[in-house]
């Protein structure tokens, strides 16, 4: 069992303890980030039936790669990068699978989207309508106040591409939300 409260321990110290092999530290680390990662994955893939499996993969990758992380300050960006990669791979596999398997309603038995108020619903519909590489930037910025450099690193892109995609995404969102109003 973890002996230190997840809220109390400093993140850098926690990462260092986890890197030294402390399972308690790893458990606190996972518990601290699991909700944010699950929410991010859910927003990206739009299905809740795969959240647990994908989060599992993400944190297993985190554990196996943690010893190689040199700077604890970059942990959060690094973890979100893993999450983004796992979610995007899942979306890619899903698209590929759809190409080879004829569509039947039973293949898409996903949970009904949770009920939201109309503003959130408008926002959700607008997000669903934008390309994944723009959507991920909006979601990442809603998670944290990342810099353009960090966003570029997380999304395997360049700063200029991030700026341009973000500009287009914001314009699109503004347009959609204005149309709904």
């Amino acid at each position: 069992m973890a002996e230190i409260s997840p809220e109390v321990e400093d993140l850098a110290a926690l990462i260092r303890r986890a890197q030294d092999g402390s399972e308690a530290a790893l458990e606190i680390l996972i518990a601290r980030f699991q909700d944010r990662i699950a929410g991010f994955v859910y927003s990206l893939i739009g299905r809740d039936d795969a959240i647990e499996d994908l989060c599992h993969d993400i944190f297993i990758k985190m554990i196996s790669g943690l010893s190689g992380l040199k700077n604890p300050d970059s942990f959060e960006a690094w973890l979100f990068r893993i999450a983004r990669n796992v979610a995007m791979d899942s979306l890619r596999r899903k698209r590929l699978w759809r190409m080879f398997v004829p569509f039947e309603p039973k293949h898409e038995q996903i949970a009904e989207a949770p009920r939201t108020d109309s503003r959130l619903e408008t926002f959700r519909a607008a997000l669903e309508g934008m390309p994944p590489n723009q959507k991920e930037l909006i979601l990442l910025l809603a998670e944290n106040d990342w810099s353009y450099e960090q966003l570029a690193e997380i999304t395997h892109s360049t700063v200029s591409a991030v700026k341009s995609r973000l500009f287009r995404a914001r314009e699109y969102l503004r347009q959609r939300v204005a149309d709904e109003d």
């Binding site: 790893l26 458990e27 699991q34 699950a38 929410g39 927003s43 647990e52 944190f59 809603a142």
Partner: protein, 91 residues
Amino acid sequence: MKIESQYVEHQRRHARAQLPPDFARRVIEEARQNAGVAGLALRLRLVAITGVLCVMGAMSMHWIQMQYTQQQNLQTWTTTAEQIRVLEESI
């Protein structure tokens, strides 16, 4: 609160409900099992590589030995053939 933040919070609340209460513990246990499997796989790989190297070593030794024996036989035969030729000429 901005709409993006509200949306993220809303998604997070829904996603949180999909994870079991002991999620972190399960992940750590699986990571531990994976490490055990990876260790076993590494040991098996080492055993397999050692086995292959031993077989290749034995085959190489056998080939070198064969070449040497063949060379020796050829030399012996050359000497014998020469002796036969000299004997035939003398007769």
